[in-house]
């Protein structure tokens, strides 16, 4: 459930951030930007969850 919600959250955010991105005008660059944003969201989310795993609360 957690990972599903996190993926959905990351997808929505990445799509909007890619669409409002100002540094490029072509679709390919926007797509790459969106994929990078999605990857960062997921990567940092998983890293933080791994770091917080031993904490009991």
């Amino acid at each position: 459930m957690h990972i599903l919600m996190m993926s959905l959250y990351a997808t929505m955010t990445a799509v909007v951030l890619a669409a409002v991105e100002t540094r490029s005008d072509n679709m390919r660059d926007r797509l790459i930007h969106g994929l990078k944003t999605f990857g960062w969201f997921m990567g940092v989310g998983l890293l933080l969850s791994w770091v917080f795993l031993p904490i009991p609360w």
């Binding site: 929505m12 799509v15 909007v16």
Partner: protein
């Protein structure tokens, strides 16, 4: 001195129609900017619709309204500023003020929910309500970005 046509040829070599340089951002008039800004806040994507960016308008509408409705369906709740109990440094509870500031960004989504009582239960029981709150927060914050984007387009700073 170069002729007008020669100069145009040099600075706009790849325009399909040299008389109408479509690649140059267009600056909208002040009333159009104001309408785009207000529309963008009220209905996510409507500002882009006013400015003729139909694809982006549809994308923003689907994602932002979708995030808000998904949040409501997960028993998320809408926040409004409440008085702090016990009284602290601020008169209002700071958390509710911040959540309200984020959620009100989704415009009519928030106002309609408030008016019809969706998500107004102050003590939602289901375990999914935290997810719901987060998606409703996301909808409001993303719409702030979309409003800013619409203003940038209207002001001629981007295409």
């Amino acid at each position: 001195m170069q002729s007008r046509d020669g100069l145009t040829d040099n600075i706009t070599p790849h325009f399909s129609d040299r008389r109408v340089p479509l690649n140059v951002p267009h600056q909208a008039s002040m009333p159009v900017r104001a309408v785009a800004l207000l529309a963008s806040w009220l209905v996510p994507g409507a500002g882009h619709l006013v400015l003729g960016r139909y694809g982006r308008a549809l994308l923003f509408f689907v994602i932002i309204v979708g995030a808000f409705v998904f949040g409501i369906s997960l028993h998320g709740r809408i926040f409004w500023p409440t008085v702090a109990e016990p009284p602290g440094m601020f008169h209002y509870d700071l958390i509710t003020v911040l959540w309200f500031a984020a959620q009100i960004g989704s415009g009519l989504c928030y106002l309609v929910s408030f008016a019809f009582g969706f998500g107004t239960d102050p003590h939602p029981l289901p375990a999914t309500s935290d997810y719901g709150n987060t998606f409703m927060l996301l909808a409001g914050l993303l719409n702030y970005l979309v409003i800013y984007d619409a203003f940038d387009i209207a002001a001629g700073r981007k295409r």
